[in-house]
Amino acid sequence: MAAPLELSCWGGGWGLPSVHSESLVVMAYAKFSGAPLKVNVIDNTWRGSRGDVPILTTEDNIVSHPAKILNFLRKQKYNADYELSAKQGADTLAYIALLEEKLLPAVLHTFWVESDNYFTVTKPWFASRIPFPLSLILPGKMSRGALNRILLTRGEPPLYRVQEVEAQIYRDAKECLNLLSNRLGTSQFFFGDTPSTLDAYVFGFLAPLYKVHFPKVQLQEHLKQLSNLCRFCDDILSSYFRLSLEGTSPAGQETVDANLQKLTQLVNKESNLIEKMDDNLRQSPQLPPRKLPTLKLTPAEEESNSIQRLSP
């Protein structure tokens, strides 16, 4: 189709093309189906709208909302699902509903409601990409919207309190992650060897949870223990998104050389490990070993510091 498709969405960080789940879903689907998408990252100029992000603009229409955008792309013949059987298509719908009901509240909570995370990570990140004075208003509005959604769908009327539902939504989210991990098993994508809509949705929801560094990380820790889901995210990142970031080949459904993929993964793992060690070294106290660890350290870092002290 000749019409240029422009997608405006939130930008990336921590190795992801976008930090916003819904934008990531659309980007991943576009990569899987080979749709040529020009991505306009929202920045802190006044150009473009930041209302119902992600937004797809073509010559004649404006489509918002990931589900509608995906439908639109399918009508334009960019379909990642044509190899799926009818039952697999039905399964896709069911699993997407599972994601939205069980995982989304906890993801929203981790990003927008949990005060440590919100004030140290999410709010500064989004505020830096929104022009002043909207940057004072919009993150707060998004946070309140997230809280609202969690309480209205999970809370008990008429007194909506977030503490009551916190435990429940995290438990549901962990169960959902376990179910996804069971379903994925050892295969590369959810339905065989080619990625489909469900893979786009799962990637969109899991990747920010997996990659963004938060102070309060219980859900992230749980996710990191499910190694096949982590491998799934890393695979998609390295095969579909690294290439376009480097600019060496056009975006599209290209099969990466298997060896190159493995090599890239190994290098990534190494560099992650080195980064972690580097982080630990930098954050260990620069004082004589007798000093007790300060209260600021998290338990994990305390442990690694004590290990370093024990070694000769």
Partner: protein
């Protein structure tokens, strides 16, 4: 319920067998109950029938307020009160009856996913139709919801509930949907269910599970409730295997030997 309370309840539940006088509470069948509540109540009834657990259905005008979570139906078993299909399934499981034991992990994941699909799409569509579609609200819902109460309480309660439901619709993004879009979503959902069911008697072949109970509850209610327009039931009638499925469960569990009665 908090986690501790839940663990406590399931411990207590495990020790006692299912009593004879278990009761299920719902709103008044003839005048008050609405489409979505009827569907939920029927799903629980079907589930308990499938587990062969006797339960008496009692209709009370204030069932919604008696329920611990604000949602109907709820069951009163021994000295515990449990509401909504999810917790009821777990409660029954703690007592040792389960329909989904024979499924492996992948099938259990599928079952949970499909149950969420029904809750996400069918239930939300029913709520939308009842509370956000002006024609239905005016003619049916307002009149029914407040019928046991005197004026002006009936109007106040109906408006309050409508406001609550509209808030929820807006929060999950259904606030701006038109009726046609909602009906299309219902169609998609029914198509997915129909494709999953295929030609099998139940969703997981030979034995019914809680998914079958939930789907039956919703589809049967949609098919047999008269609304201002028939579009919702028309969407379901397009899929003949779903119709056969409802008929099969109705005959097997509700007319067979007089076990239980359907409204």
């Amino acid at each position: 319920m908090s986690l501790v309370a839940e663990a406590f309840v399931s411990q207590i539940a495990a020790t006692e067998p299912w009593p004879e006088n278990a009761t299920l509470y719902q709103q008044l069948k003839g005048e008050q109950i609405l489409l979505s509540d009827n569907a939920a109540s029927l799903a629980v009834q079907a589930f308990l029938q499938m587990c062969n657990l006797p339960v008496k259905v009692v209709c009370r005008a204030n069932a919604e307020y008696m329920s611990p979570s604000g949602k109907v139906p709820f069951i009163h078993v021994g000295n515990q009160v449990v509401s909504e299909l999810g917790p009821i399934v777990q409660f029954v499981k703690a007592k040792g009856h389960s329909l989904s034991d024979g499924l492996d992990e992948v099938q259990k994941a599928e079952m949970k996913a499909y149950m969420e699909l029904v809750n996400n799409m069918l239930l939300t569509a029913e709520l939308y139709l009842q509370w956000c579609d002006e024609a239905t609200v005016g003619e049916i819902t307002h009149a029914r919801y407040g019928s046991p109460y005197p004026w002006p309480l009936n109007h106040i309660l109906a408006y309050q509930k409508q406001w609550e439901v509209k808030r929820k619709m807006k929060a999950i993004g259904w606030g701006n949907k038109t009726l046609d879009q909602v009906l299309e979503d219902v169609d998609q959902c029914c198509q997915a269910l129909s494709q999953r069911l295929g030609t099998q008697p139940y969703f997981f072949n030979k034995q019914p599970t809680e998914l079958d109970a939930l789907v039956f509850g919703h589809l049967y209610t949609i098919l047999t409730t008269q609304l201002t327009n028939d579009e919702l039931s028309e969407k379901v009638k397009n899929y003949s295997n779903l119709l056969a499925f409802c008929r099969r469960i109705e005959q097997h569990y509700f007319e067979d030997g007089g076990k239980g009665r359907l409204s």
